[in-house]
Symmetry: C3
Subunit: 471 residues, 3 copies
C-alpha cells in the first residue's frame, strides 16, 4: 500500500505558531533567491556537453554515498546496487532492479536528510505524489526515466530552472579543465567556475603521488624534482585555474595540522616525500607545510582557501579493495584546530585580505575552538556544517554553538558540496528553512529584531557566500 | 509541609499544543505494550525463589548507586545509608532511619531521572499521593513495607503485573546459572534469559583474575594454561549459557580498543597475562584481542555482542577500599571508536549475520563516530543512551545526534540496564515518552509523516529490541 | 536610518505561551533580588576612590575583549580602537572616533551575548531608545557621556542602584589590597571582598615569575628560596586576604592537571622552577602540585577554591607582542578532568568541608566528566558556564547536560566574572531569565512542580552562590 508524498509548505519551521509565523515571513524573502553554490562536486562535462542524464538508478542511486552506505549497513551488497568492482566482477546491471532495491529500502531514510532531499526532488522535479516504496517503485522509475530523456532535463535547462547564479566545481591540478574551457567559449551564460584542489600533488599518501608530481612538472614546465620548482608549478597551475574562473582552493586533509618550516627543512622534507615513500610522520608534516605554503600563495593571488579536515578515508579495507575510494566508508575523527592551525595563523592569521574557510567533521570544536578562532583572527571564516552534519539537527547545532561567539559575519552561508545535481535546490531549500527557523526563534525570544533577521536570512541565502568566496 | 505527588498524563511531551497532541496519539500506541528488557542486572534468584522483597530501604535505597552517589556528594556518609563496609565496621542497620535520611534529601533529585523513576514507582505501585520528604517519610515507609510483604509484590507477580515479555540478566562465565536452571523446570511461564558477561575471565585487571581462570578451566574441563584451552573454555561456556536462554554476550571494557593478533602473538600475550600480573599495556591489549575473539565466536554461534566501553572504574580509592566496587564512583572518560574498533571491523565488520551493539559514555561520539560507523558497517548497531545518559535530555541528544546519519534501523530500541526491578516499568515509560516526543516533533516539523512515526514508535518500544537481540 | 531599541519584557523566555507564562511567574520572584557576585574582575579602586568613570569609549569599548575581538576579526585594527601598544606607538586617542567605529560595527553583535548586555545597559541606565548604529552613534555618545559625569553614575551610587549584596574582586598575592583596606575604614556600607588568585607566584610561565617570588618573600618575611618558605608565604598571604574579606581563591591554569608529590620531590621540583626557567613539563607539574597544596590550605583555612582551566593564553603572537595579555586572543582547548583531578581528589575529594568549584571552556566535559564527578565527590561543585559559554545557548546547554547527573545542589548559581561593571545587572538578568526559561520548560513538561521551580530559581539567583562561596 502506498502513502502520499506531500511537501508541506511549513516543513522544518518550528511548531510554535508565533515562531512559525515569523519563519514563514523570513522564508518569503529567500524562497526564490538564486542559488549560489561556491563549493561542490558536479561534473563540468555535464554543462559543457549538455547530454541527457542516464536512467534513474545511474543518476540518483549509484553515485550517492548517503544512499548506498545506508543500504549496505542493512545488509544490501554493493554489487546488488550496481557499483563497479575494481576487478570488473559481476554486479547488477539492470537499472530498474537497482531502483527497486533502493525503493524497497526507502523507509530506512525516515528522519534523515536524504529523505528530505529526495522527496523534494521527486515532488518538485517529477511531480510524483506517492512516497517511494516497493509498490510505487516502477511507476516512479518510469516517470523519472521519461522526464530525464526530455530536453527540459538536460543539465543546462535544469541549471536555468534551478535559478543557479554560480556553481563551483572541484578539480585536480592535473585536470586540463577542458570542459571549463569549452564552456567559456560556448556562448551559454551559465556561470560554472572551477576550484583548485591540489590533494593529488600535496598528499604523499594519495594514490600515484610520485607519478602525479611528474605529470605536474610536465604540465607546468617546472622541475618538480626540487621544492622550488614544485612550488612554482603550484603558482602556475593556480593562475591557470583562476583563468578558468576559480576564486578558491580546497584542501581535504586528515587533520588540520599546519607547519611553517624553514626553507631548508621544507626542501629536505620534500626530498623525502617526493618519491611517494614517505613515513606517516613525513606525509603528515608535508601536508601541514603545504597548507601554509598555499596560504602564502593565496595572500599573493587572492584565492580563498578552504580546509576540509577530519576525515579518515577508506576505513573499510574490504570495500576499498573491492570498490575503491569514496564508497561511504570514510569516517570522521576527533580533530584539533587550536594547536594545529597555530603555525599557519602565526604567519598569516592577522591578514585581513586573506580568507581561510574552516570546515570540520568534529562538532565538539564549534563552540570550543572554531568560533573563538574565527571570532578573533581576521583571516578566518567558518564554513557551514559539512557532510554528515549537513542536516537539520546538524545545521541547528552549528548555529547554536558557533554564532554567539563568532557572530554571523564570520560565517559564509551555505555550501551544498554535492555531486547530486538534481538535489541542489532541495539542499539549499533545507538550509534556508533551517536558517528561517533559527532566526525566527531568535526573534520570538527577543534576541534579535525582525529587521535584523530579515537582513541576515537574505545574506545567508547567497550574498554572504558570494562575498566570502569573492565570486 | 508536604506537596502532592502527581504523575501528569502528558509528562515529557513537548509543551507546544499541536506537538503534544501528536505525542499523545503515538503514546496511545505503546503505553500498554509488553516490556522487552534485553539487557539488565536483575537477580535471577528473585524469580527462581519468588520470596518477598525486603524492607523499603534495603530494596530501593541501598542498592541504587544513582541515589547514594547524590547523597554522598552532598555530605551524607555511605555508612549512614547502611552500605556494607568491607571491614564489617559499623553502619546504620535500621532501615527506617536509612529511609528517613533518603527522604530528607529527596529534593536533591529535582530535575534528575531518579526522581522521574521513583515518583512513578511510588504513585503506580504504592498509590502514594504525597511527594517524598522528611514529613512524609514514615507514612511512605509504612505503605511500601506493607505492600512489599503482600503476595502481589512477589517477584513473579510483579513480572506479570509489569507485563514483561522477556528479561535478560547478566552473569559471569563462572556462574552455575542455578536460578536459570531452576526457572526452566519450575513451570512458571515468565521468560528470564541469561547473558554471557566474561569480564572476570577476560580482563586481567579484574579482581582474582588468575583464580578465575583456574575455575574457568575446572568448570569446562579445559586447560586454561594454554590459549587454545582458554578459548575452548569460552566456547563451552557460551554453549552452556545459550542452553540457559542467552542470546547475547556483554563486554564492559575501559576502552573500545580491539586487536587482531596473529595466533602466536596472541598465545604469547595470554602467557604473559594469565597469572594476573600483566602490565597495563598487556592487560589493555588482551582485552582488545578478546573482543575480536568474542566476535569470531559470535559469528559461529549467533550470539549478539554488546560492548559497553568508556567507564573508568573505582575512581575514588577511599570508597573502593572501604566499600568495594560499584559504589557510584565510576567515571566516564573520553572514548575513541573509529580507530579502536578498526582491527575487529577489518575482520568482521562486513558480516551481515553478526550483530555488535555499541554503547558509550562519551556523547561526543554519537554524531562523529558511532552514527557514521553504524550507518555503514553491516555488523554494527547502536545501543541506547547508557548510564548517566539514560535520561530525558540524554535520550533526546542521542536521537538528535545519531539518527540523521545512522537511521532508526541501525539502533536497537531501549535497554533499562538496571537492577532496580521495581523501576523497570518507569524506565520504559520514560523512554517511550521521549520517543513519542521526538517523533512528534519530527511530525509537526514535517520531517516525517504520522504513519511512519506510528510504525517507528511501536518498533522502538519493543520489537526492534527483540529482533536485534534475537530474542 | 535608525531602529528602535526595545527591551522586551519576555525576552529569552520560551515562545510557547504556556511555558512563557510559567517563566514570567518565576521571573517575578527573582527580577528584583539583590545581586550576588562571588567572582569577577571589577577594580576595587573604583569603589575606594569613587571617582567618575571616563568617557563612553574608555569605559565601554576599550576594556571589553568581547567587543574588540569581534571588530578585529572583521578587519578593524586594535589601534583604531585606541588600545595601548606596548611600544607606545600611535593609536586613536579621540574617544568619540573610537565610539563611532564601534557603533558602525554594532550589527556584528546580532545574536551574541554582548548585544544583549549592551542593549540592557543602553536602555536601563541611559534611557537610549534607538539601536546603536553609525547614525545614532553621536547621540548615544553624548547621552552616555553626560550621565557618566553625574553623581548618580559614580561607582558607589551604581553599586546601590544595582542592588548589589556583595561583589568579589580578584587580586594577585603581591597586591597590597590598599583599596580594600581603604574601603573597610571608609564607612561606606557596600560589601567588596577580594579573592586570592596566586597565578603570578604559582605559574612558572607567568611573566616575571622569579621576580614575583622574590617580592612574595619580601611581602611575607618568608624565605621563598625554599619550598617550605614558599608554602608558608602562601599561608600568610591567604590570611591577609581573608582579613580583607576573601572567602575564596582562584586558579587560572592551562589544564586541570593536579599532582600529589612526596615532600622531597615537590621541594626538588620547586628548586628547578623557582628561577623561572622551568621546562614546559616542570612548569605543568608545578602548577599541578600547587593545586593540591592550595586544596590542603583551603581545608585548613576554609577558603573556597575555584579552578578555571582550559584556556590557551596568547594564541596570537603578533597581538601579544604588540599589545600584551588579555587582548581577545586566548583560545579554549580540549580539557580532561577525570584523570587530571585524580591526584587531588584521591587526597581531598571526600572532604565534605572543602569546596572546589570547577569551571571549563570545554563543554564536552559537562555530561561526561564534570557532572559525574560533582555528583559523587563531596568536595566538588560545578561553576556556571564561563567566558565564551556565558551565553543564552551556552547556559542552556550547561543545564541540559549537567543537571540530570549532578543535580542543582552541586552547582553554585551564577558568576558574572566581568570587569564590565555597568553590564553586571544585565548579565545577572540574562542568567536569571535563562534559569526561568529552563525551569519553566521542566514544569510544563512535568519534570518538576511549580513549587520546586520557585524554590530553585530563587536559590540560583543568589542564595546558592552565597552559600557555596561562604559569603
Amino acid at each position: 500500500m502506498s502513502q502520499p508524498l506531500v511537501l508541506h509548505p511549513d516543513r522544518l519551521f518550528p511548531a510554535d505558531a508565533a515562531t512559525r509565523a515569523v519563519a514563514r515571513q523570513l522564508y518569503a524573502l529567500v524562497e526564490r533567491l538564486p542559488i549560489v553554490s561556491p563549493h561542490g562536486h558536479t561534473d563540468p562535462r555535464w554543462f559543457a556537453e549538455n547530454e541527457a542524464f542516464p536512467d534513474p538508478a545511474t543518476l540518483l542511486v549509484k553515485p550517492d554515498h548517503y544512499i548506498f552506505r545506508m543500504l549496505y549497513s542493512q545488509g544490501v551488497k554493493l554489487e546488488e546496487l550496481g557499483l563497479t568492482r575494481r576487478d570488473r566482477g559481476p554486479v547488477e546491471t539492470d537499472p530498474r532492479k537497482i531502483w527497486r532495491r533502493f525503493a524497497e529500502h526507502y523507509h530506512l531514510f525516515a528522519g534523515t536528510p536524504t529523505r528530505l532531499w529526495l522527496d523534494h526532488v521527486f515532488a518538485t522535479l517529477f511531480n510524483i505524489d506517492q512516497r517511494l516504496s516497493a509498490s510505487t517503485a516502477d511507476r516512479a522509475y518510469d516517470v523519472i526515466a521519461e522526464k530525464l530523456a526530455s530536453p527540459e532535463f538536460r543539465p543546462r535547462a535544469l541549471f536555468e530552472r534551478f535559478n543557479i547564479d554560480v556553481i563551483a566545481t572541484t578539480e585536480s591540478p592535473l585536470d586540463a579543465l577542458a570542459s571549463h574551457a569549452a564552456l567559456r567559449t560556448s556562448g551559454w551564460k551559465g556561470r560554472i567556475v572551477t576550484t583548485y584542489r591540489p590533494d593529488p600533488v600535496v598528499d604523499p599518501d594519495f594514490a600515484g603521488f610520485a607519478d602525479n608530481l611528474r605529470q605536474f612538472g610536465e604540465l607546468t614546465g617546472c622541475d618538480t624534482g626540487t621544492y622550488a620548482g614544485y612550488l612554482e608549478a603550484h603558482r602556475i597551475r593556480r593562475a591557470f585555474f583562476r583563468a578558468h574562473g576559480a576564486t578558491a582552493t580546497d584542501h581535504g586533509h586528515p587533520t588540520a595540522l599546519t607547519a611553517d618550516l624553514a626553507g631548508r627543512e621544507a626542501s629536505a622534507l620534500y626530498d623525502r616525500v617526493k618519491h611517494g615513500q614517505a613515513s606517516a610522520a613525513d606525509a603528515e608534516l608535508f601536508r601541514a607545510q603545504m597548507l601554509t605554503e598555499m596560504a602564502a600563495m593565496s595572500l599573493a593571488d587572492g584565492m580563498v582557501m578552504q580546509i576540509h579536515s577530519g576525515a579518515m578515508r577508506n576505513h573499510n579495507p574490504l570495500i576499498y579493495n573491492t570498490f575503491g575510494r569514496d564508497m561511504g566508508a570514510d569516517m570522521p575523527t576527533r580533530t584539533d584546530y587550536v594547536h594545529a592551525l597555530k603555525p599557519l595563523l602565526d604567519r598569516f592569521g592577522n591578514e585581513a585580505s586573506l580568507t581561510i574557510i574552516l570546515f570540520t567533521l568534529d562538532e565538539t570544536v564549534y563552540a570550543r575552538e572554531l568560533a573563538p578562532l574565527a571570532g578573533h583572527y581576521p583571516a578566518l571564516r567558518l564554513g557551514p556544517p559539512w557532510w554528515f552534519h549537513d542536516s537539520v539537527e546538524g545545521m541547528t547545532r552549528f548555529r547554536q554553538q558557533a554564532i554567539e561567539t563568532a557572530g554571523f559575519a564570520n560565517t559564509v552561508g551555505f555550501n551544498d558540496d554535492t555531486r547530486a545535481y538534481l538535489s541542489i535546490p532541495a539542499r539549499h531549500d533545507v538550509a534556508r528553512r533551517v536558517d528561517c527557523a533559527t532566526l525566527a526563534q531568535m526573534v520570538t525570544t527577543h534576541r534579535m529584531e525582525e529587521d535584523e533577521a530579515a537582513r541576515l536570512v537574505v545574506a545567508l541565502a547567497g550574498s554572504m557566500a558570494k562575498a566570502a568566496y569573492r565570486l
